[in-house]
């Protein structure tokens, strides 16, 4: 048998490779008419050209769809060189549009691009704090921006800003005709800086000026209330799932326990979701054991996320969860787990139906892209995507109502009844009647409109 001599093989291979390279650059050398520069540039381009060759062979197999990056950069170059129309060629804007277009082709509204501004405000939401003065603003009937509520323990509260104060100027600039978003932008700023607000207050003849130092303010994610101190019916509303919400929820529960809590209503209406981790934390508080949610990875592999035992630091109470068509994502993880495990009763309307997990990937220039990377299933394996979760007791909301107002908030009133049945304070027949009424009413209930679906961000 022949033996390969490594000492000879290496130079031999080297020579073969050189022969290939020489062959590859030969056409350029022949065409260069002795110009050395073209030979060197030909050598430099060798790797790219070989790559093109490989890509080309692949592309031809795939029936030639357009290669994204090549087409995009070629068209961009073409625009930069020859475009002669209205509007400037702003590469960044063009690229952002191209990325948005590219993502739209995937037909998944949750896979989306976030420009630097959008990404920043999303981070603020998820972290649960921002730098500002901590006043919740709204627009009144006359189109003026007013303080709906100064949040407790914030610069606004300490400076003496009161509910219903109308803001007329920010840093001495009148804000008439400005959108509320623009006003919010003006009031916010880096921590430690000052902002001067001009305020009109009913009963005070002149404009009040307040100079307020901006600070890091936590979003209040949780609102709680003892609805019925006799029967111990507590109410916790969760606005969003972020890094702060579990701590705030824990505190709220502790406060309610001090007021003799016996049964709990968790309000997830209008909660668009948020962080997966926060959903697992909150879910763990109610689910005794097993998975809170099952993540189905790309490729089909199922990874259950189990209950966190350390979240079982409170007693368990009879539970009613309020949901509506805006309860989405993380809200559906929590309500789906509660429904599947039977630890609580869902009241309200069918939930939004978003069973996909997004991963936010930051990009080089401060923008980011949210990509749907996995599906999730409720503990018993249901995919609720585009289907939503049906409540146990269906209650349609009236056209106009004030959340938390027992006179107009029919869903809340019903959920108190349901809770009382669960606590043994009302007979079971009440629940049966409610269910019957819901069935009769469900025929005329309307489904969510497409515009509402499209508007839901998370």
């Amino acid at each position: 048998m022949k033996r390969l001599n490594i000492n000879k093989l290496i130079p031999a291979l080297f020579l073969l490779l050189s022969a290939f390279v020489v062959g590859f650059i030969a056409p350029d050398v022949l065409a260069s008419h002795g110009d050395l520069r073209s030979v060197t540039s030909s050598l430099q381009l060798l790797p790219q050209r070989l790559e093109t060759l490989l890509v080309q062979a692949q592309v031809e197999k795939e029936n030639e769809p357009l290669p994204i990056i090549e087409t995009y950069s070629a068209v961009l170059e073409q625009l930069k060189a020859d475009y002669y129309g209205q509007g400037n060629i702003d590469e960044r804007r063009l690229t952002y549009s191209a990325i948005r277009g590219m993502l739209s082709a995937l037909n998944d509204p949750f896979t989306r691009f976030l420009d630097p501004d959008e990404y920043k405000s999303m981070r603020e939401e998820n972290e649960g704090n921002f730098t500002g003065i901590g006043a919740q603003l709204d627009t009144n009937k006359n189109g003026e921006v007013y303080v709906k509520e100064p949040l407790p323990d914030t610069p606004a509260m300490r400076a003496g800003v009161k509910a219903n104060d109308v803001i007329v100027s920010v840093d001495d600039k009148p804000i008439k005709n400005l959108d509320i978003e623009q006003v919010v932008k003006m009031i916010r700023g880096p921590a430690g800086t000052k902002v001067k607000l001009g305020i009109r207050r009913t009963g005070v003849p002149r404009i009040i000026y307040k100079v307020i130092t901006r600070q890091v303010v936590q979003f209040r994610m949780v609102k709680y209330q003892m609805l019925d101190s006799k029967d111990g019916i507590g109410y916790i509303r969760l606005y969003q799932f972020n890094e702060q919400c579990d701590t705030q929820f824990d505190q709220a529960l502790t406060q309610l326990e001090k007021q003799n809590l016996k049964g709990l209503i968790l309000d997830l209406r209008g909660n668009p979701g948020g962080l997966l981790q926060a959903a697992v934390d909150i879910g763990s508080r109610f689910i005794p054991s097993g998975p809170v949610v099952v993540i189905q990875e790309r490729g089909g592999q199922k990874n259950p996320i189990y209950v966190k035992e350390e979240k079982h630091n409170h007693k368990r109470y009879p539970l009613v969860v309020l949901v509506d068509k805006h309860s989405a994502s993380a809200s559906e993880i929590v309500s789906g787990a509660i429904k599947d495990t039977g630890v609580g009763t869902l009241v309200g309307t069918r939930t939004f139906g978003k069973g996909r997990v997004q991963t936010i990937m930051p990009l080089q220039d401060g923008s980011a892209v949210a990509i749907t990377t996995a599906k999730y299933l409720t503990p018993n394996g249901t995919d609720i995507h585009k289907k939503g979760i049906e409540p146990d007791v269906k209650v349609e909301p009236p056209d106009t109502f004030e959340v938390g107002d027992l006179k107009t908030d029919v869903q809340l009133a019903r959920s108190i009844q349901v809770l009382k049945v669960k606590m043994g304070l009302l007979p079971n027949s009440v629940l049966d009647e409610l269910k019957k009424a819901a069935q009769a009413g469900s025929t005329q209930s309307s489904s969510t409109t497409s515009s509402e679906r499209a508007a839901k961000p998370n």
Binding site: A19, F20, A26, Y72, D82, L106, K141
Partner: protein, 524 residues
Amino acid sequence: MHVTNNSPPSASAQNRALTEPYAHGNRLLIDTSRERGIIELAGQVIPAVFVTINGMRNYRALTFILLITAFFATGYAARIATIAHERSAIRQFSPSPVRTPGVPVATTHLESAGNIDLGPLEVMLTVLRSLREHFVDPITPSDEGRMAREALRAMLASLQDPNTRFLDPDQLKLVSEAMRGQYHGIGAFLAIKKIKAGNIQEEHLILVTPIDDGPAAKAGLRAGDDIVAIDGRDVLPLDPFQRASEVIKEERKKAIDKDVLRKHIESETKRIEEGIPILKAERMLTSEDDKELELTVVRKGTPQPIKVKVKTEAFFVQPVSWKLTDNDQLGYIRLGCFTDRTPDELESAVYGLKSKGAKGIILDLRNTAAGNLETVLSAAKVFIPGRVFAIEHKSRNRKVPIRVEQYPRDRVWNGPMVVLVNSGTARMAEALAVALKDNIAAKIVGEPSYGDPSSVTLMELRDGSGIAMTTGKLVPLRSPDYHGKGLHPDILVASNAQRDEQLNEATKLLRSMTRSLVSTQSGT
């Protein structure tokens, strides 16, 4: 090759010998004196080869040389293939052959290659890589093709230039069919125009030009009609929520009654849900055939929207027709559209008129639109051969004079001319009118034209889709720039539904022009 044993030197024997020389003991002896010659030859080319193979068995050296040659050939072939690929890539993004003569696209590529900002490209690449690696459903090649198209569509749309856009393969096909004189849909050139009303600026679907004998023209649709609804469904702008949110904001300012606001929101939602996106509407009207549609159009000077029934169909257009008035020997040429046949037909029309002794020509360019530059430059040769048609202003401050094709002098029309225009005279037709005015003092009669002298380049991509892009603006040689304003006629005559006043006025003018010509001729 010379082999000392008795077996014939067949290819298969040689093959076996090359692969397993010792295995069966049939050792081959090679006539070294002959082979050495080859080796020495190779050694002269690459001395290193010689050094290496000296230590080898001779037949191995031969194998090796064959391999070297094979690798060299493979490398050569590979490079030839990449050259072909690079050429086709350049062709892909170069203008279709009908474009402006002159500046080839490849050079402009190189000119701008120095200042490429890699930032945005990297961002795009990262997004794509992340999608490929992480998106919940694995991305297929056809997904990627669609993504590329949507990326281009969104990128070009963000420029908000109605002439710069992505074209799907079927839309690109319409362009080439129109070049052959075949039209589809309602038979009209449409444009998407931004119109500001109050606080909002929305895209409208404007009928620029009804094509001769097309369904739109037969149904009485006119140039400038704003198509607001199809079959009772509103044509929606690119961002339909802009209006809705504006309405809601306005209502909220004065809102006293929540019910009124809710009704507004409901009606807006309904309008948007039932409406047709403007790009889809454009497509319905230009590509779909054999459908009866009811269009609601808003026409200037008519207070109420007009409803018009029109049937979409595929039809061919006669690009040129002509006649000679009996009494005063005046020629009339109707140029309905610019197709491949237009230059030839215009040539024979002028030849016909000349041979019948026409004294003057009225060129009717009312409701004549589109066309590409090459066709017009060829068509114009019977009137202004070799002259400057217009100055094309291009990016990076380039100004390129564009010349009309040459044509034998004796066949050129050199009599007086009057050109008829109206608001449906668009693009190349306007450019032709003003070129005739600037070069041979043709008179322009009618209404101001559409006013879009953009020159648009079409590029075909390898998957059959395409890109239209504004690459320049045609500026008249002497007349003022008419961009956005429309070409102003020498004699302004409004259109009249009963009688063709514009044609009457043009005839009168031409008659006086021929007389003055006769008088100056007789005077000399």
